[in-house]
Structures are given as structure tokens and as C-alpha cells.
Symmetry: C2
């Protein structure tokens, strides 16, 4: 069994849980108690000296970093559509894995760390970065159904959590209808797994631009 | 010919030039004049709406993001050793691509943006992040000759530029002998390409721990 050292409210962990659920890959979840400092125990540091979640253990392989785990799981255990083996597809997807580790981490993920968990980070800076990022993602999604390749890939799984949790960092998604429509599309994928605080598509409705693209699961 | 839209002093561009030189992949460099705002012209934004360098153009494919470009070039045009096609190797390497887009960007790259280019970023924060990152990388390199797989991979190319340029952000590498020894090993790879301000291994000598592992290019 593949083990995921996991924190329920961590967006980086949620990326992995979401992908595993969508791809039908069973994971054994091992909760890590950050409040109790479990990520700084010798046992945990032996797994990940960076003292971060998630960590994946599959046989002898131990991987830190959510993007690395997505690539490994998709390549080893997933349908090839999530992470095709051709150079152009991998390059296109990695553009979004980098955004996830970079602009999303320093934008909406950081805003949420301040707002929800009281981290001592520059909130105004995180909000500025969030707005710039979301403008770019919205412009891209205005003419793409999925982030790359015209279908769901690990790029969507990497970007979804902190964007769908943006409101928990006081980042308003109202100006970004294409982002909201994409969130709804991800939520309607077979096997979609939610997380505490993720709003359902119908909670976001009331915007013509957006609702046009939302298909209710109960519609024919 | 593969075209790289490129800025000489950008570490993200240097990652690509370095890898292409080591892997023997010819690139046509198209300089982008950031000072003149060339990255905000309609022509450039049509290539990359994110208004960032580098951008790679190979036939019909246009890629932004240095990590994405490394993955694409290695997969399409490089020897398989740089980016093997098995899941575990790709996962191990992506750990460092994420660090390059995340912790390195918000650490030594940001410190250099403030110090060398006058960016309005929080320098103290960048220095704290740099120290934490370099401690982790140093501990890893103290028992690994290369970042992953026991040989040079695109992980080393992604991490090298901003770490080797750390001094330009007033980040001191003296406390990190394993990092300095690794810098020297990268510099002694066949085909290594330098960049303005990158110090040579012999300029860094004088540390026993480090010099033990440095092999001069002129030694037998």
C-alpha cells in the first residue's frame, strides 16, 4: 500500500489526495499533527529533512514535494492521460507545476496561511501576487477548458486546491469567471474529492458568464 | 533551429542555456530587452502572456517557464540520463524543479533581485529563506555528489544558477561547504557554460572541507 503522510487542511497534501481520488489510486493516509510539532520529530525528519508535508512512501521510494508526488504517481500508477510520456505534453504540464510551487505558493497559498493559520507573512504582497496570478490563469482558462492538453491532467490537480481555497485567504474569485467555471468543471469530474472549506459550484452561481459553463450533475 | 527568448543576467534563462550547453543542444538566442519593456510588447505577450523570460520556441511549440523548458528539451533532444523516463527518477528530479520555482525563487533569486536590480521586495525575508534553503541543500549534498540519481540531471541545471549567483544577493555560501563543492563539480562538467558574475571554483577555495572535493580541470 502507498502511504501518504498527510495534513487534511494542507493544499499541498490535498493536491495528492485529489489526484489519487480522480485516478483511482488507493492511498493509506498517515495524518501528521503539525500543531504538536510531529513534522519536526526525528522519525519525520528521517523521511523528509525539509520538515514539510506531504511525503509519499511507496516501497523503498520516499518523495517530498506535492508536484514530485503527482508526477511519480501519475507515471507509475495512473492512466497515461494524466501525465503523457511525450516531451511537449510534459513541458506544457510542468509550466503549471512550476506555477503551483511558485506563484500559487507565494500568492493564494500564502494569503491563506496568514488569514487562516496566522502565519507572519506579508499579506498585502500575497494579495497582489494572487491578483496577478489569477488574471493570468483566468485569461488562459477563458479559451481553454482544462489547463493543458484539452483534458484533465496533473496540472489541474496541482493548481486546484489553493485556487479553490482562495476565499480562505480573502482572495475574491468574483472577477475571474473562467477560473470559477473551471473549478466547477474539476468538481464535476468522476471521483472528485472535496476538502473542508471548498465551496461547491452551486454556492458560486449567480454569474451569467460562469453559470453558462457549469453543468449540474443532475442535468441530463 | 530552437529559439530561446533570453536575458543574459536572468537565472531562469541561464538554467536553459546551461543545460543546452551541457547536453550539446544548439539554441538560437533572441535577446529580450527588459529595460526597454520588450517583454510587455504585443509581440512578446503573444508568445508569453505572463511577460516573463525565458520562452522557448521549437517549431509550433511555445513554452514559458524554465523548468518546463528543461523537461521538454531533455525529453525531446537530450541524452536520457538528464531526465530518465521512469516514474521514480522523474519524481526525484521534480522535487528540485519545485524547489527551483519555489524556495530558490523566493530565497536567493529574490535577494539578488533586490540587491542587483533594485526590486522592491522584502530582502530580510529573502535572506532568511535563503539560509533555510541552503542548509537543506547543503545537508543533502554532504552525502550526495549530485542532487539526484548519482549523476548530473536537469535538477542540477535548475538549481545551479541562483545558488552560484547567491553572492550577488549578499547571500554568503561560506557556511555551506557541500554546496560550494557541488558548484565546483558542476563547473568542471564537460561543456559547462558560465555567466557574468559566476565565480570560478578556485576563487572559492581556502576551505578544507570544500577543496577536498574540488578537482582542478588541469589535474590528470
Amino acid at each position: 500500500m502507498i502511504r501518504l503522510h498527510d495534513v487534511e487542511l494542507s493544499g499541498n497534501c490535498y493536491k495528492v489526495r485529489l489526484f489519487a481520488a480522480l485516478a483511482g489510486i488507493p492511498l493509506e493516509r498517515c495524518p501528521v499533527d503539525l500543531a504538536a510539532g510531529e513534522h519536526r520529530t526525528p522519525q519525520f525528519l528521517a523521511l523528509n529533512p525539509w520538515a514539510q508535508v506531504p511525503v509519499l512512501v511507496d516501497g523503498d521510494l520516499v518523495l517530498r514535494d506535492s508536484q514530485a508526488i503527482l508526477v511519480y504517481l501519475a507515471s507509475r500508477h495512473g492512466d497515461p492521460g494524466w501525465w503523457p510520456d511525450d516531451a511537449a505534453s510534459q513541458g506544457r504540464i510542468v509550466q503549471w507545476l512550476s506555477a503551483s510551487a511558485g506563484e500559487i505558493q507565494s500568492g493564494p497559498a500564502s494569503a491563506r496561511l496568514v488569514e487562516k493559520f496566522g502565519y507572519d507573512l506579508d499579506k498585502a504582497d500575497a494579495l497582489r501576487r494572487s491578483a496577478r496570478l489569477l488574471e493570468r490563469v483566468d485569461a488562459h482558462l477563458a479559451c481553454h477548458e482544462w489547463l493543458e492538453l484539452g483534458r484533465p491532467t496533473i496540472a489541474d490537480c496541482a493548481v486546484f486546491p489553493y485556487v479553490a481555497w482562495a476565499h480562505e485567504g480573502s482572495v475574491d474569485l468574483k472577477p475571474f469567471p473562467a477560473v470559477r467555471a473551471w473549478i466547477a468543471r474539476v468538481q464535476s469530474l468522476p471521483g472528485f474529492l472535496s476538502a473542508p472549506g471548498i465551496q461547491h459550484a452551486h454556492d458560486r452561481a449567480g454569474d451569467g458568464h460562469c453559470s453558462l459553463q457549469i453543468k449540474s450533475k443532475t442535468e441530463p
